[in-house]
């Protein structure tokens, strides 16, 4: 099972207009590891292995619970890909929701405090 809905994002990044801010955090039920060029994540529930596409990998790596999604898109995604910023944000939101649906990310409209034992990418 994988996430292949990769966004194509442009360098002409402008400040995104958001009605609300979204915060992402890594689920503590997930173990993650970069192997070569790919990020693999293992869900402890259901023993499901996911392979993150490059955009999902950026969201995973940046999901610190404190940085809003629009800032992640602006600072990490727009600098990496070539796409219109509105489209980038739209796709990033959809991707984040998909990752949350699979239990990989937590999403909130408020900053998400770090759990006592947060799961980190091990390499």
């Amino acid at each position: 099972m994988g996430f292949n809905q990769q966004s194509t994002i442009s360098n002409s990044c402008v400040k995104l207009k958001m009605n609300k801010r979204i915060y992402l955090a890594r689920s503590p039920r997930i173990a993650a590891r970069r192997l070569g060029e790919e990020m693999l994540v293992m869900s402890g529930q259901g023993s499901t292995l996911f392979t993150l596409n490059p955009t999902a990998t950026i969201l995973w790596q940046a999901a610190d619970g404190a940085t809003p999604l629009d800032e992640i898109v602006e600072s990490r995604i727009c600098s990496e890909f070539a796409v219109q910023p509105e489209e980038a944000m739209r796709d990033a939101e959809a991707l984040a929701e998909d990752l949350a649906k699979h239990g990989i990310l937590l999403i909130s409209e408020q900053p998400i405090p770090k759990p006592a034992t947060s799961v980190q990418e091990s390499r």
């Binding site: 192997l35 060029e37 402890g44 023993s47």
Partner: protein, 263 residues
């Protein structure tokens, strides 16, 4: 009697002489009457009853104890006291399943695992040949030359050990057999490579990128516990393995020349 696989010794306590004799034959080469054991299991034999051979095994962890169950057995194991019990009829298959489960649980805490793969030692180095049923594990085992020693044709035993101050992966022989129905030799050797098997029109070895290697290793790993911590440990074990052991795809014709490329 003590059944020692991969250097992990399990004592099986039973008062049934016929069952004991059956186990001694089943695990020949892996049995010791006197060796100290890391774990003790009391076997409570019951009358044979119908059991679905395709039933799923259930493994759960509660209050520090492991509970294992399939249609043909129930078992419980307390790692803290190192004791457990198995309730089954007098057959070798139920205890075999329990041993596999217990070994996976022991191994994963040490970075090791059981793998659906054949394995063999040649020139002092061990090689794994992994694949699903039909991929060629039995074929590659059957084609092994006289100077290769078969560790298993079905379930490989991989431990992460500290050798001379360095972490190293070592493959051990197992009594877990496949179609060859031939027990592996009870020896071990450092692992040199994992080959992912595919049968094809020519013999060919190709490197496998790390992520593909990790995915395929996990797909072939024996793992029963749904416990989150253990799932994460198994994942880390697979990732650590592909970070340090070369993984190749071995496409081969079913003839002995394939072994000219191995070892």
């Amino acid at each position: 009697m003590v059944i020692a696989i991969g250097g992990v010794a399990v004592r099986v306590n039973t008062g049934d002489a016929d069952f004991l004799a059956m186990l001694e034959e089943r695990y020949a080469g892996f049995v010791s009457g006197v060796a100290p054991a890391e774990f003790d299991f009391d076997v409570d034999l019951t009358a044979p009853a119908f059991a679905d051979p395709d039933a799923d095994v259930s493994v759960s962890h509660r209050a520090g104890r492991w509970f294992m169950e399939r249609g043909d057995f129930r078992a419980e194991w307390d790692p803290a006291t190192r004791r457990g019990w198995i309730r089954q009829s007098a057959n070798p298959y139920s205890i075999d399943a329990v041993l596999r489960i217990v070994h996976t649980l022991v191994l994963v805490r040490q970075g090791g695992f059981l793998l659906h793969s054949a394995s063999a030692v040649r020139n002092g180095k061990a090689f794994l040949f992994a694949g699903v049923s039909g991929a060629g594990k039995t074929t590659i085992s059957r084609l092994a030359p006289p100077d290769a020693t078969l560790l298993t044709d079905e379930i490989s035993y991989v431990r992460k050990l500290n050798v001379s101050g360095l972490d190293a992966y070592v493959a051990f022989g197992t009594p877990f057999t496949g179609e060859l129905a031939k027990l592996g030799e009870n020896i071990s050797a450092p692992l040199a490579a994992l080959y992912l098997l595919a049968q094809g029109p020519e013999n060919r070895i190709e490197p496998v990128v790390a992520a593909d290697a990790g995915r395929e290793l996990l797909a072939n790993m024996l793992f029963f516990a749904g416990d989150q911590e253990m799932v994460h440990r198994a994942f880390e074990a697979a990732c650590d393995f592909v970070d340090s052991v070369p993984v190749y795809r071995l496409t081969f014709l079913p003839d002995a020349r394939v072994w000219e490329m191995i070892g």
